[in-house]
């Protein structure tokens, strides 16, 4: 299959200064040795709790993370971590972002058409007429009316504002769009409108989505494959049916069972895997598996060694000591425990 995005051993570090004058500097590793792939024209969802590093990972892939980034990100075979100037413009045209909050992600002093045109001004050398044509086309594609082009963001509803954000992301005709919680700030009925729109646009323009969300219902509907993150690590990476029908990692199972279900069959299955406590501190990580302190199944070895991401039958990747890899699985270790960053 054709992988459009390939990420290998990607880490993002932030320097944190302790309280007070001259406080000690420490390193916080928000994304820790992450490897994943996304296929062209498909949706890869990144799920996890807040603080798990999912947004940082996606921003690092788009070269937008402010921390120190190491590792390799290939988009269409081209390494983007080392790009500068002109190469970076190429990458910016190819990779665009839709943000979570449609209220703060649009400039309140620009008209809708200027907002949508801005990426074209910055990244392309198209003529005025060409740009105007492109703005019209995508205004129409996201379901806004031409006469709304002259309005300011505050004159739109939340859903319409998100449509402007989508049109802006589409304007450079990218191949990859990073959707960072694109519907979580919207009302439920409006969420459905935006989700349907995103899926329609994906078909129409052959887009590849990196879809960041904490809402497993939305993820299950949108994605083709899923990467589950916990404390900066990927704990499970599988395609949609495998992950939702046969989740392997205890954290994934806990996440899925924590979603309040409308389906009575699901509610009465009675195998809730409840998590206790809060995640550990990223600045003071435990020795073994990062999930062990909250894991209902943890064994002594889980507190000793960090489980590598291993491949199971059918390409299902899991980082857990307790998971049986199945008969024909290879013992390929993707990343052993991460070395301490100096």
């Amino acid at each position: 299959m054709n992988d459009l995005i390939e990420v290998r051993d990607l880490s993002v570090h932030f320097e944190i200064r302790a309280k007070g004058i001259g406080g000690a500097r420490r390193n916080l590793t928000a994304v820790d040795d992450v490897s994943l792939t996304a296929k062209r024209g498909q949706t890869l969802a990144i799920v996890g709790e807040s603080g798990s590093g999912k947004t940082t990972l996606a921003l690092a892939i788009a070269r937008l993370a402010s921390g120190k980034t190491t590792g390799e990100v290939r988009i269409d075979g081209k390494d983007v971590v080392s790009l500068t100037d002109g190469g970076l413009d190429w990458m910016r045209r190819k990779v665009q972002v839709i943000f979570q909050d449609p209220f703060s992600s649009l400039n309140p002093r620009q008209r809708a058409e200027d907002i949508v045109r801005e990426p074209l001004d910055n990244l392309t050398t198209k003529t005025k007429a060409e740009k105007a044509e492109i703005v019209d086309r995508f205004f129409n594609a996201v379901g806004l009316r031409p006469e709304q082009k002259r309005l300011f963001p505050h004159q739109f509803s939340g859903g319409q504002r998100q449509r402007i954000g989508i049109a802006r992301a589409l304007s450079t005709q990218p191949e990859v769009i990073i959707c960072d919680e694109p519907v979580s700030a919207l009302d439920v009925a409006v969420q459905a409108q935006i989700i349907n729109l995103l899926r329609r646009l994906q078909d129409e323009f052959g887009l590849t989505y990196l879809f960041i969300s904490h809402d497993l219902g939305v993820v299950q509907h949108m994605c083709d494959s899923v990467a589950v993150m916990y404390m900066g690590k990927i704990v499970e990476h599988a395609d949609r049916l495998q992950l939702f029908n046969d989740p392997q990692h205890p954290y994934t199972r806990a996440l899925i069972s924590a979603v309040p279900a409308v389906d009575p069959d699901l509610r009465n299955r009675g195998q809730k895997l409840a998590l206790v406590g809060d995640p550990p501190n990223l600045l003071n990580l435990p020795k073994g598996c990062r999930f062990a302190s909250r894991c209902p199944l943890a064994e002594p070895r889980c507190f000793e060694t960090e489980p590598p991401l291993r491949v199971r039958v059918g390409g299902h990747r899991v980082a857990c000591h307790l998971v049986d890899l199945g008969p024909e699985a290879s013992a390929e270790a993707v990343s052993p425990s991460a070395p301490e960053f100096p």
């Binding site: 807040s50 509803s157 439920v188 899926r199 219902g217 049916l241 939702f244 029908n245 309040p260």
Partner: protein, 328 residues
């Protein structure tokens, strides 16, 4: 059957530049002892206003109860004096707000904030209130309550802060607990913990629960009965299982089917989500003599645009305010 809370023909008006708007328009409902009900709807439908009205906390000078009664334990809260309401709030009716980050005082320790409620409402001494606060922190499952009681809100995670809010609301063992979107700001795993906690506490104390939410899944997990609100009016009311299995109002159907729910067995097949087009009307349109949902409704007919739908009862407990309810 005697009700703990009975709201009759409640109308709440908000003063705006363009005149008054009825944010709650002729709302009636009951809450039995120990019962759990949910208010569901999009933002701007009047769910939170209902809660604030019960608490006597409508925005001063802007919102007021124009007509109707709120009977609580045989007493009309609309006519109650501010002093009496102050006594009822906290003692008899507790409330948890949506944002645990902003509804706690950042400059007091959490133990102090719980103890304050006990001193104010139950006249406990400083020492006794502090000891009780620690008990309460333990009851909401905060580890090491003795040391955590001295922590400030910023030192706690979102889930822990919400637990502190619950401890404050339950400090005086209220008869009703109102939870306004208690888990919207939290992660799903933490949400599950909070729901578990609320369920257990309810079992132990017999408190009635009014939960306000937009998440049908949360309703299905937590409530026995639900009231669907739209544009300040009750669209549908009934037992949760019945309404989810067979909603009698197009808005309820829309709310249920527009969300991609997790299913027990996932297949390749993926259909487009059902859309409810448009958005909730602005306050200026509230109170008009027609069905306010008609502009977003696929079933709308001439009658919906000219006459406000009456409530149709399908059983003693299931009612819908839609002209087409019978055909659904």
């Amino acid at each position: 059957m005697s009700f703990l809370l009975k709201v009759e023909n409640l109308r709440i008006e908000l003063r705006m530049r363009a005149g008054v708007a009825p944010v709650i328009d002729d709302l009636s409902f009951e809450l039995a002892h120990g019962e759990s009900i949910s208010f569901v709807g999009e933002s701007g439908c009047g769910k939170s206003m209902t809660a604030l009205a019960i608490m006597g906390l409508l925005p001063e000078g802007i919102g007021r109860v124009a007509s109707g009664k709120i009977w609580f334990d045989g007493e009309d809260l609309v006519a109650a004096s501010p002093a009496r309401l102050r006594h009822i709030r906290g003692n008899k009716i507790g409330m948890i707000f949506q944002e645990p980050m902003t509804s706690l005082n950042p400059v007091y320790s959490v133990g102090e904030q719980i103890a304050e409620v006990l001193r104010e409402h139950q006249g406990l001494s400083r020492k006794a209130a502090w000891a009780e606060a620690i008990e309460l922190l333990d009851a909401v499952r905060i580890p090491n309550p003795e040391t955590r009681a001295t922590a400030y809100p910023f030192e706690m995670s979102g889930g822990q802060r919400q637990r502190v809010m619950i401890a404050i609301a339950l400090a005086c063992k209220p008869k009703i607990l109102i939870a306004d979107e208690p888990t919207t700001a939290l992660d799903v795993t933490v949400q599950a913990q909070i729901f578990d906690l609320l369920r257990d506490l309810r079992r132990q104390t017999g408190t009635s629960l009014i939960m306000i939410t937009h998440d049908m899944g949360a309703v299905a997990e937590m409530a026995e009965r639900m009231i669907v609100m739209y544009a300040g009016r009750k669209a549908e009311e009934g037992p949760v299982d019945k309404v989810i299995a067979h909603a009698r109002h197009p808005y309820t159907q829309g709310l249920i089917s527009c969300v991609p729910h997790l299913v027990a067995h996932l297949t390749e097949e993926r259909q487009d989500l059902n859309e409810v087009p448009g958005i909730v009307p602005g306050l200026a349109e509230f109170g008009q003599g027609r069905c306010l949902f008609a502009s977003r409704c696929a079933r709308a007919t001439e009658r919906c645009l000219t006459t406000r739908p009456e409530e149709i009862a399908f059983s003693d407990v299931h009612r819908s305010a839609c002209w087409h309810a019978e055909g659904m």
